[in-house]
Symmetry: C2
Subunit: 345 residues, 2 copies
């Protein structure tokens, strides 16, 4: 196992300057393509710099300029395909603007989320993109950060009206739309597996559902709104609760807060020997990759994750580079994917 002999220390401007018998500034000017260097000198310097393996030290640059060309991104999950796709959109933008991207996965833990925000701040990122974790429970933390820290933009899971922009999806409208789709096909007894409270998208989807039901003057029994978190197991549990209702209270259709929850619910339905959509129709939200592949393909809302990431990153960079960039709530428009799980295809 040959051990590498490394010079270890990086070459500095000063070292290149000394090797050349010129001043540090001359080297600096040459490698940064400034105008005020003689062409000869520049060539000489560039050549020597390459030869010595000089690489600019951005840490030092950042200290002087108080600009790091770095942004922090905090996501609550990384396994769920949605977030990688958002990150792809973000990365596309940052990459083309020559920003580097710090990624942190909070794993739905607000403690980790806060720790990450502090760490990123100490690293002096130029801005931060956050999608809050489920158990986010402290507005004041972000209020404080927003009033003293670098620009922050929320995406997908936002805290609204605390002075930061939010790039979200038109959840409420979409939820209303998909609920009305069920209603339009004759369903009247419709339940909702709702997300955790306090997370905006959960609330919005619930509101959209409620509005649709109200608009069409359909009754929503209290038992029909079941809180279910965002994960498959939780969907299974929540659906089980619905199935345990006395027959005359059992819903005929279900709007799930997202696809994983819908998958869990379908599982619960089938384990009872019932069929989708024959006995119970169901729709989801997210257009998970599995949605069209399961035995009864799931009707759902397709979230434009990539665009959401792009928009969020663009908004953040604008906020970084222009102090007057306004605070906005942007809604990216989603689209409905009609498949067989709703029994209306």
């Amino acid at each position: 196992m040959a051990k590498k002999r490394k010079s270890d220390k990086n070459v500095t401007l000063k070292e290149v300057a000394q090797a050349l018998g010129v001043s540090t500034m001359t080297v600096s000017r040459a490698v940064n393509n400034r105008t005020n260097v003689q062409e000869n000198t520049r060539k000489l310097v560039i050549e020597k710099a390459r030869e010595m393996g000089y690489t600019p030290n951005h840490v030092a640059k950042s200290l002087v300029s108080s600009k790091t060309y770095t942004i922090g991104v905090i996501i609550p999950q990384i396994s769920h395909a949605f977030f990688p796709e958002v990150v792809r959109g973000i990365e596309e933008v940052t990459n083309s603007m020559d920003y580097q991207l710090f990624l942190t996965n909070s794993g739905e833990s607000f403690e980790r989320e806060k720790k990450a925000v502090d760490a990123l701040r100490s690293k002096r990122v130029d801005g931060i993109l956050v999608s809050t974790s489920i158990d986010m429970a402290d507005y004041t933390f972000y209020q404080q950060f927003i009033s003293t820290g670098p620009p922050l933009v929320f995406f997908d899971r936002c805290i609204e009206n605390i002075g930061a922009s939010c790039i979200g999806v038109n959840d409420e409208t979409a939820s209303m739309q998909i609920t009305e789709h069920l209603i339009g096909h004759g369903y009247k007894r419709i339940a909702h597996l709702s997300g955790p409270p306090g997370v905006t998208i959960g609330k919005k989807r619930l509101d959209g559902f409620s509005s649709a039901m109200k608009k069409h003057m359909l009754t929503v029994h209290d038992e029909w709104i079941v809180e279910s978190g965002f994960r498959e197991e939780e969907g299974f549990k929540a659906m089980t609760r619905l199935l345990d209702l006395p027959k005359n209270l059992r819903p005929r259709a279900v709007v799930a807060v997202n696809d994983p929850v819908a998958f869990g619910a379908i599982d619960a339905i089938q384990k009872r020997g019932l069929s989708v959509p024959h006995d119970i129709a169901i729709v989801g939200f997210t257009n998970d990759i599995r949605a069209e592949l399961i035995s009864c393909p799931l009707t759902t809302i397709h979230q434009p994750a990539y665009n959401l990431g792009k928009n969020a990153a663009e908004k953040l960079i604008k906020s970084i580079e222009n102090v007057d960039e306004p605070i906005e709530n942007v809604e990216i428009v989603s689209t409905m994917k009609i498949r067989s799980s709703c029994g209306c295809a």
Copy 2:
């Protein structure tokens, strides 16, 4: 749109010191929990620092210590579920070790990959994790980096024997194993849709396939090794070429270099009106989330992505913190998932 009035400038040690009438060093010692400060003083300082909203500047720290607690990760794709899962493993480790993670998606472009390496180096990351892009074509770039830059560890897609550790999967063995699985069930005419040349995993899987065939003294016609890249469309095209062969040359089973390619191939087979596994059996590699969900679930190799990420990150951090850490090639063991696409379930 209320505009925020920000102090903009971050509070520094010196400012806290002045506010308190002590020296910068005292403040530094206090906030860093050094022993040589009086308890009273410490309390006073900590309190004042909090009050003034002091946050340590890691950029300055890094300049002094030439240590950034930052590592760079370069992946070739982000949509493919495999890499997010690897990143989750990496993030788990870096997070617990208080390192921050720079993520770059090269999008299979070696140009972007090189640019990213240079950028990360200028940002003075403590180490880099790379999975090379398909069109990687310049060993010397990494040779140079490895001999002059910070520690680098390859994962999944490696360049071997150029002085960097590689954390990979036991591709060759696994490929041999899955091929032998087909052979064990009576298949003799077996083709291989191979990855792009020059990428180690492609080569290894081909080698495993060849070894298995050779070991069992089965003929491999030249036409049966079709280069197909890593993506679905490419699998479709490659399979089409196999299907276009005269009937007496057509294979009875196919080993695909990964699941997407297998999906493409299945599509091609079915578009011809043939059935899997009845007419042609097929196996993949990766255990894509879709593998068990398609109409004819795919037999494949499950890649322990999370563990791979964890191991790679651990190896890198060891290499960072201990100069004598040896260079190693580690193989994480994968497992076979037998489903119906091979007709042997």
